[in-house]
């Protein structure tokens, strides 16, 4: 089998190599070949043997980790739609199918439009197709509302790939997380498709029953009357903590289920790809700021101040952001101490924006982008500290 495929690629290789008629399409050929077979290169300098781990495997494992939140999200889109239409008889399969019809075109458009942009850069720059896009092209659409128009998806993902990544020189060189750059583009350019109460379900508007608001838990909390108990407001809207943990709530497609994100996160930590320091840092930062806010909660104060820590963890995009977005190794801090500070900064800022900023109830995206910008500075301090410690140790130990 391996020999057969190898022979097939070898047969056509010359057309795509330097001087061949299809040389411009070399990145496509290389991409297709390395999908089937590991590359044929041998070491020619440096260590003679190499570990089998490569970027393709690293990126594809992130995609695997995204499958649980994606599947739960798919089911929830259908579930929310049937709920809005007052259809209690919908089965699991009905829900998943209806969710798939809404979600898959968005993912497909994201991969196609972003992939074409990526490929153009590869062809012009003559480098291999970068598998990092497999992650960006999936992480980004899953943060959108299920009703997002496809042309906005396409526009945003191209913006994310080009402005978020390629203008810096591709994966590894970028400062911001490209998926978040794309999402920020949607948020600032087309705020109506990603905020408010009407966008989080794909229910037939004519069938929506009386009393269904379509508001997300975050919106419910931020619009509760001052002095009221935010937990009671959530319960009144029909959601227990467990509902929000599992993901039976309106929200972005795959952000709704903290439980499914946790499964993906555990997998990523287990295979050693995402930083648990960043994830725990986010939780710690959010915890700290929430405790401070809780202390200021009172009858006159905004209801959001009183929301307990464990509710913050399961609503909005916190879990998804902390596990999949903040841990992007390129835009995150790269030192261990830096990762803690970066995570804590994200958690604290996300809490701050959620509770204090009345214009937009979700702060995770902006918090991560903000800390992306600061990550190099955090690393700088950590690296300088290491260097000072080294010099001091050398002075102390030297003969």
């Amino acid at each position: 089998m391996t020999r057969l495929i190898e022979g097939l690629f070898d047969k056509y290789r010359h057309s795509f190599e330097e001087g061949g008629s299809l040389h411009w399409a070399w990145p496509m050929f290389e991409g297709a070949e390395t999908f089937w077979l590991t590359p044929p290169h041998r070491t020619h300098q440096g260590a003679h043997v190499r570990d089998p781990m490569d970027m393709k495997r690293l990126m594809i494992f992130v995609v695997y980790a995204l499958i649980p939140p994606m599947l739960v999200g798919m089911w929830n889109i259908g579930h929310q739609a049937y709920l809005a239409e007052g259809n209690a008889a919908a089965t699991l399969v009905d829900c998943v199918l209806r969710g798939a019809i809404a979600m898959l075109p968005i993912i497909f458009v994201s991969y196609t439009a972003g992939g074409i942009a990526e490929l153009l850069f590869c062809v012009v720059r003559k480098h291999e197709i970068n598998e990092g896009f497999l992650v960006t092209g999936l992480i980004f659409p899953l943060t959108l509302a299920p009703s997002t128009p496809l042309w906005i998806v396409a526009l945003a993902v191209i913006f994310g790939v080009v402005i978020g990544k390629e203008v810096f020189g591709g994966v590894g060189m970028n400062i911001l997380n490209p998926a978040l750059t794309a999402r920020a583009f949607v948020f600032f350019a087309y705020p109506k498709v990603i905020s408010g109460a009407g966008v989080w379900d794909v229910a037939d508007k004519a069938k929506v029953i009386d009393g269904y608001t379509g508001a997300t838990p975050l919106l419910t909390v931020s619009s509760a009357a001052p002095g009221t108990d935010p937990v009671a407001a959530l319960n009144q809207a029909g959601w227990t903590w467990m509902d929000m943990f599992i993901g039976r709530i309106p929200g972005s497609m795959a952000e709704v289920s903290a439980a499914a994100c946790l499964v993906g996160g555990l997998f990523l930590v287990m295979v050693g790809i995402a930083s648990w320091r960043i994830m725990l840092g986010c939780v710690a930062g959010l915890g700290m700021i929430t405790l401070v806010f809780n202390a200021f909660a009172g009858p006159e104060a905004s209801a959001a101040l009183a929301l307990p820590f464990h509710y913050h963890l399961v609503i909005g995009g916190f879990a998804y952001g902390a596990i999949f977005m903040a841990t992007d190794p390129v835009s995150a801090a790269a030192t261990n101490a830096g990762r803690w500070m970066y995570g804590i900064g994200i958690g604290a800022l996300a809490g701050l924006i959620r509770v204090v900023n009345p214009a937009y109830p979700e702060g995770m995206m902006l918090a991560i982008l903000f800390m992306n910008v600061f990550a190099p500075l955090l690393d700088y301090f950590v690296v300088q500290r290491s260097a000072r410690r080294r010099v001091a140790r050398l002075a102390a130990q030297g003969v």
Binding site: T38, R42, H48, R50, M55, K56
Partner: protein
């Protein structure tokens, strides 16, 4: 060059970071005594810092211990013949660089050097030690961090490390290279080295060693080293014991080479025998042999396995490619021969690769443990990408307080001042090679480090 340090007590260093690459093809069986080879050579190739000035030209007849060439700048630093016979050929490369100085072997007559007894060596003077080593052809077993060059005879090290440990993949250690009866010779060599430094001579031994030659060392500090590779690397050990202060130097040598020094001084004759190993799955039968220093490589390695193979002088991590038709090196005692191909695998980006070793937990073998030694070929095993700092790098760097990503970025940027500050002179080549091995982006950190050190040497 400050005063003598206080004595270190016997201490144990167990390093946690690092990686033992479980490559198959270990040396098995006893050391094979080879018949006398037809020719031997001294190759300046593995003597960095020495520029040869030929003393014995083609046709000259030489004895064991006759000087073949000296360093251009230091006439007392000589390399000597390991056999008696006639200088057959001086092989030169581009720009007339000497590649091999070949002697055809016809007898075993030997030059005699001054003979010492162990008691007298205790009180040998610095000059007697220097000239004895220089004329006896064994000065170049000494090396100096960070560029691993042969130190100049006029300089003085702060202290000297003698390392009896070896942790590199398939690399031979004290069990093969140091004979059970080498204890006295090693002790004599240590006395000679003690005369070269105002500081201490420290011996690094494997944790829990029972080697008889390492059991009763006197007048030296003993440090035990344990843990994965590179815990056996002298550079890493120097950083854990006492790194050089200021612009000073710390020298190092291997214990088996120091035992040769001892034999030279005790016997008054150049010790020409060496143990070499040939390992790797590219060989028909990996083995250890005893032969003359600088014997033809093929006599040491025996036949290669069928198929294309790569001949490496040294280990798969830091060795260099050699032509098997040439001769063995002066200090490097190992050859590794591995299949030179990139075996292609279906769906490498997701297959569990059960029969494969990986450092990474994204492979079942990395997750569950290696499960024995594996055949490794020269495949790059992935596409070259930009550095993505996932955090794997820190796990294989045993030198403390190094942030590998940032050190290497500063080297790539050519920022010499910053890279020295971040540890350019501290990180060992073995660690850089391990970084290259584990890197999912297939970045060649060892090549970058070598370039950085070359730039440092040029500027400094």
């Amino acid at each position: 060059m400050s005063g003598a340090p206080e004595r270190w007590t016997m201490s144990l260093h167990v390093l946690k970071k690092g990686l033992d690459v479980p490559i198959a093809g270990e040396v098995t069986g006893n050391i094979v005594d080879l018949p006398v080879p037809a020719s031997v050579s001294v190759a300046p190739r593995d003597l960095p810092g020495i520029t040869p000035r030929i003393l014995s030209r083609e046709g000259a007849s030489v004895k064991v211990g006759t000087a073949l060439f000296a360093d251009k700048a230091q006439p007392d630093l000589r390399l000597v013949s390991a056999a008696a016979g006639e200088v057959r050929e001086i092989v030169r490369g581009p720009r007339r660089v000497v590649l091999d100085h070949v002697v055809s072997v016809t007898g075993d007559a030997a030059e005699s050097f001054r003979q010492w007894d162990l008691g007298a060596l205790k009180k040998i003077s610095r000059d007697e030690a220097r000239i004895g080593l220089g004329h006896g052809g064994l000065w170049p077993v000494l090396r100096c961090r960070p560029l691993d060059k042969v130190p100049t005879m006029g300089s003085t090290p702060q202290w000297i490390l003698v390392s009896a440990t070896e942790t590199g993949p398939l690399a031979p250690g004290a069990d093969l290279l140091l004979g059970a009866g080498d204890g006295e010779a090693l002790q004599a060599g240590l006395y000679v080295l003690k005369a070269l430094t105002p500081g201490a001579v420290a011996v690094a031994v494997p944790q829990g060693t029972t080697h008889p030659a390492l059991a009763n060392l006197k007048d030296v500090d003993v440090h035990q080293f344990g843990g994965p590779h590179p815990s056996g690397d002298p550079s890493v050990q120097i950083n854990h014991i006492a790194p050089p202060k200021g612009n000073g130097q710390v020298w190092y040598a291997r214990a088996w080479d120091v035992a040769l020094i001892g034999r030279l001084f005790l016997e008054g004759r150049y010790p020409a025998q060496r143990v070499y190993t040939a390992a790797g799955t590219g060989l028909a039968a990996p083995r250890a042999v005893r032969t003359l220093c600088g014997a033809p490589i093929r006599t040491i390695t025996g036949d290669a396995a069928p198929g294309p193979v790569r001949w490496i002088l040294g280990s798969v991590l830091t060795g260099q490619v050699v032509d098997p038709e040439r001769w063995a090196g002066f200090t490097n005692r190992m050859f590794t021969v591995i299949p030179d191909r990139a075996e292609r695998r279906l769906f490498g980006w997701t297959a569990p690769n059960l029969g494969d070793f990986s450092y990474h937990r994204a492979f079942l073998s990395g997750f569950l443990g290696a499960g024995g030694r594996k055949v490794m070929d020269t495949g790059l095993r992935g596409g070259v990408r930009s550095m993505v700092p996932v955090g794997y790098y820190r796990g294989v760097v045993a030198t403390p307080d190094i942030e590998p990503e940032f050190l290497f970025r500063s080297i790539i940027a050519g920022d010499l001042e910053e890279s020295v500050k971040l540890g350019l002179l501290d990180l060992s080549m073995e660690e850089a090679a391990l970084l290259t091995y584990v890197c999912p982006s297939k970045i060649e950190f060892d090549v970058i480090l070598r370039d950085g050190l070359a730039l440092y040497e040029k500027e400094a």
